[in-house]
Every structure is written in C-alpha cells, then in structure tokens.
Symmetry: C2
Subunit: 341 residues, 2 copies
C-alpha cells in the first residue's frame, strides 16, 4: 500500500480514491506497527521471534453470502476480524496482526468506508491487533473482503485439528446455536421470542466472541481443537476425519444460551430442535478434545475467563460423528462432512 503526500479534502460522501482512503483511514490502523512500514511499501516485514511459531489463517467474506447487505459495515468488519481471531483462539495462538484485502462495489463511498474502518479500529484495540498491509481494489460485484491473520504460539505449541485421541473427552466453550438463530433474527424472523432475546441473538450472530485467553489452557491440556464455524456436528466431523477417530456427541448436554433455551421451549420436537442448533453455523466457539484428566482444569480455565466449558462427547475408535440423546443414537454421519458454502 502507498499513498500521496498531500491529501485533498474532498466531499466526504463522494467518490473515493483508493490512495486517499489508505492515507486517511488505513494508515492510522498501522501507525503503531513498524512491521507495516507505514503502509508506504508493497510488503510488510515480520522479524523472526525465536522460540515461537507464526500461526497464519485466511478467511474471506462476500456480501449476500456471509453477511447481509443490511448489516452495518462496522459490524461486518468486526465480524471479519473475529472470525479470523476465532481460528487463532482454537489453535492456542495469541493475536499479532493482519493483512486486509477489500474489493469495494461502485456505491461504497467515504461513509461506508469510515464505518468499516471504525469497526476494524474498535476490534484492533480490543484484541491487540495491528494492520500490517493489504490491498484495496474496486469491483462491479458485491463487497468482498479477506483477512490474513497472524498470531504467535510457543514453538511446536499449535493445537491441531488432527490430534484427537481415542478416549478423549470432547468439550465446547460457551453456547451452541445462537449464531444460527441470530442469523434468522437478523433476517427479521421473530422466532416467537421477546424483542430482547431477538436482539441478543442477532448480536451473537453479528459480533461473535473469539475465545482468546483460552490459548494457554488449550496448549497445556487439549489434544485437538477447532472453532465451530459451520456447526457443532460439522466441525466435530472434521476433527474426527482429520484425526481418524469417531466422535460421539450427546445432544442433551450441548450447552445453549437462555435465549436459545427459550426458542427450544417453543419447538414441538426437542431432539430435532437441538439437532437444528447443532447443525447451524456461526457459533465461533472452541471445540476441543482432551484426556479425561484434563476436563476439570479446562472447565476451571473457562470459569476464570467467564464462560462455561461443557463436556459434550467422547472420542472412540471408528469414523464420523454419532449424535445420541438419552443414550440412543439419533444421527450418524459416517463420512467426512461437507457443506456447500
């Protein structure tokens, strides 16, 4: 990224020169990061940090696919960062910095960009991130953005998806299903719930809470971990596939929020409704497996951080995911899980 020396003061609602945008809005996000070279170069410099591995993840979002055209752009930007931060959290990594690529549609003027940048700045401060670089381009299509996020773990300390072991317990942070219900609330469905519950669920969908802070406990106690982005069952299936094991989930023990509990109370088929929550995505909780002796310390770590860690299943020899209720099998997903985006 680079920019002009002189910044004209134009119509703040008018058309945007990409270099002006970088200079006015993005450079302040990189001002504390020597790595970014002032966003005045084509690259960033990451010095070696002996004793640490760099953890890198990259996620992209598209308007109309991953967020709604009606979503406020500051929240879209915050969610983009949080989705990437959630990957770091599940790997046991601490946040470091990020690269941003944005393709702006024709209608996106200064006001849209200011909102987007305000969201980035807010969550940068909150999570200790800095902008290191990226690219800004125009598109005739929908708003499209990607973040490449960088984090640190002590060398060799990454918590992998492919490391679940037979006999492990399966635990999950927070609550499952709020993201899926929140998406429905954001689309205007009342869900039979109070306005307060609808608003709360919508916020869970729009601004998920990456479970950072759990990193040290995960590195110490967990064998495998991944974040729940595509649904509890789907992401358990990916851990099972990558680790060549079977995971059995007890749907009755799946943790749900008060609001999701209210929704569950309105559904005629309790098990089907819980399965629907387990199949919905956008939770951004951490799902992990750990030996039975590690369950208590992991729960204690969650308690210290202010969220529950709930034991929801076990790892056994085999393949795929089996979901049980009251001791009986209700769903079996034999092969790896797929979704159609």
């Amino acid at each position: 990224m680079s920019g002009p020396e002189e910044i004209p003061v134009g119509d703040v609602g008018g058309p945007v020169d990409e270099f002006d945008w970088i200079a006015r809005h993005l450079r302040p996000l990189a001002s504390d990061a020597p790595e970014a070279l002032g966003l005045a170069d084509d690259a960033a410099v990451i010095p070696a940090r002996p004793g640490f591995d760099l953890i890198v993840s990259k996620d992209a979002i598209v308007e109309g696919v991953h967020f709604l055209a009606s979503d406020p752009l500051d929240l879209v930007a915050r969610k983009l960062l949080r989705v990437n931060l959630s990957d770091l959290a599940a790997k046991g990594a601490e946040p470091y910095g990020y690269f941003l690529a944005v393709a702006w549609p024709p209608g996106a003027g200064w006001n849209a960009r200011r909102a987007f940048v305000e969201g980035l700045g807010q969550d940068q401060r909150r999570f200790g991130l800095k902008l290191f670089g990226g690219d800004t381009v125009s598109t005739p299509g929908p708003l499209t953005a990607s973040v490449t996020i960088l984090g640190w773990v002590p060398a060799g300390g990454i918590v992998r998806r492919a490391a679940a072991r037979v006999g492990d317990a399966v635990l999950v942070t927070g609550a499952i299903g709020d993201g899926g219900l929140g998406l429905r609330a954001a689309r205007g469905e009342g869900l039979g719930l109070s306005v307060d519950d609808q608003t709360w669920l919508k916020a869970r969908y729009q601004t998920p809470q990456p479970r950072l802070g759990l990193g040290e406990a995960l590195r110490r106690w967990a064998h495998a971990a991944a974040d729940v982005s595509d649904g509890l069952i789907a992401d358990a299936g990916r851990i099972a596939a990558a680790s060549a094991v079977q995971i059995t989930l007890d749907i009755d023990r799946m943790p749900v929020s008060t609001a999701a509990g209210a929704w569950l109370g309105l559904q005629p088929d309790r098990v089907a409704a819980r399965l629907a929550l387990a199949a919905a995505g956008d939770d951004y909780e951490v799902l992990c497996t750990a030996p039975p002796s590690a369950v208590a310390p992991l729960k204690a770590a969650g308690e210290t951080l202010g969220f529950p860690m709930t034991e929801v299943g076990v790892v056994s020899a085999g393949a795929g995911v089996e979901v049980t209720s009251r001791g009986k099998s209700v769903v079996v997903v034999r092969s790896g899980w797929r979704h159609g985006q």
Copy 2:
C-alpha cells in the same frame, strides 16, 4: 481448509462442493509443505527462521477489473502469483509460500477450477512456492481472488521504497510499456503490429516475469526499490513521495522491447508515445535507486540473469517526478501520484 475422507467422483463439469475442490485440487499443491498441515486445519504454522525476516505482501484481483473475462484461467492464476512474486522480487526477498482466497461465481465448475489450479501448480514449481492455506467461497459476483505471499530476506535486508537518497541513480529492469500494449492486444487491438508482436505483447501482459534472482544484488547495491505495477512514472512518484526526494526520469533512455519499439515507430509524436508507455501499468519490472558506484555492478547482475538493467534517471532534492526528453522538462508530477484503480 479441511475436506472429506471420501471423495465422490462426480460430473467433472458439474457443480462443485468446495471441500471436494480443496481435497482434489488444492491439497496436492500443499503436499510438500509441512507448514500447511495438509490443508486439514484452519491455520498454517510458520516456524521461526532465526536470522531472517518474513516479507509478506497481499494482492487481490477481480474479473473485469484486473483481468478480462476472456483470459484463460490458468494464466489468470499464474499472473496472480507473479504479481505477488514481483513484490517479493522488488523487496529483495526469496519466495517461500502463499495463502489463497478465491470467491467463485455460480458458473465456475470443475473445468474452470482445474485450469486455475494447473496455472498455480505450474508457477509454484517454476518459482519454488508452496500453498500454505486459504479460503474458498462462492460469490454472486465476478471471480475474485487474493494471494498473501510470504518470502524471506536476511534480517534487516528488505529493500524499502522509502530509502532513495539524493544523488542516487535510477535503474529499471527489462523493458517498460509491454504490459500496457499487451492489454490492448488482449482486448483485440491490432496496434498496427504483426501478429507475432501482438502475441508476444499479450503474453507479456498475461504472464509478467517477476525479477526474482535480483534479490542479492538489490540488497547489496540498491538503496530503494519497488516493482512497476502502475506505470514507470507512477511508481517512481511513489518512491519519491515515500523517500521525500525528487526523481527525474529521462524518457529517451526508458528501455523498450522490440515489439514496443515497432509500435513507437508508428506513432506521430515520439515523446507523447513514450510517455504513454511510461504511464501504462502491468510491467512488473523492478525500479530501484542506487549510488552511482553501484550502477555497474547492478547492470552486471542483470546481465548475468538475462535481462538489461537500464539507468533511466536521477534522484535529487525536492518532490515529485520530472520527466525530461533531450534535456528539457516534458512532464512534472509535483504531488504524490494517485490512480483510480
């Protein structure tokens, strides 16, 4: 990225499941990279390399903006890598690996994806790159992709844009203007040239040559460098702005290819035509500044690598870019340069 354990053999021209695509096409691109964790995790692991800095750059492309809908997708993929490799080349870095995010439009089936991946594989092998991870999503809009590229330089060795010094000579690799003429040829303009020249220029536009290999000489001899992506004058302007100096370019000394020379011979106004080439983009040559004593060794380094390095200007106190012809000023760009994408 993650994928299923069993891969169904479907209609190879039919609709695509993103996880199948990752398993079938992308995983082989990461098979030699332990960093990628088999593309079976949400992140990659980059071990510290003591004594080296990691250089990171990120560029995005959009169909209809950065490439033509008629461009073959293997060439689009190769250009995407090469545009990023060009950034590494200009910073004096050696290629290491990359992260890819692609948003596929509805019509992009297996054949389109196979072509794209073939292009990636071809240039991975050519330039010693590996795929480390990324994201694949769908879009209702045009094909959009970004690459985050990683390279290494010896610690502190990056060649910055902001480091030009008064008294430096300005040199450029290869030839300027082929990218701009090649774009016109790709759009079907004959340019008054032979079919051979048109084809050659189109290839220069579609598959630029990142000037890798020059890294050691740049690190040793150059003060500042950047690649020429938006035109010789524009990128000289950015070096000038970032370094707080003036750059004077002698348009008569600007190196041009045989094909561009043939085009120049057909133009009524020699200086205007050379300026048009200097203002066109997509050259992906390296522009650098170096003390006068370093001109001979830099030229010798280029000769060894098989391309010319031509002295095209000087750095002086001041601001902006001045272009001269036969000793007279023909263009002055006072402030920083901007473009509208």
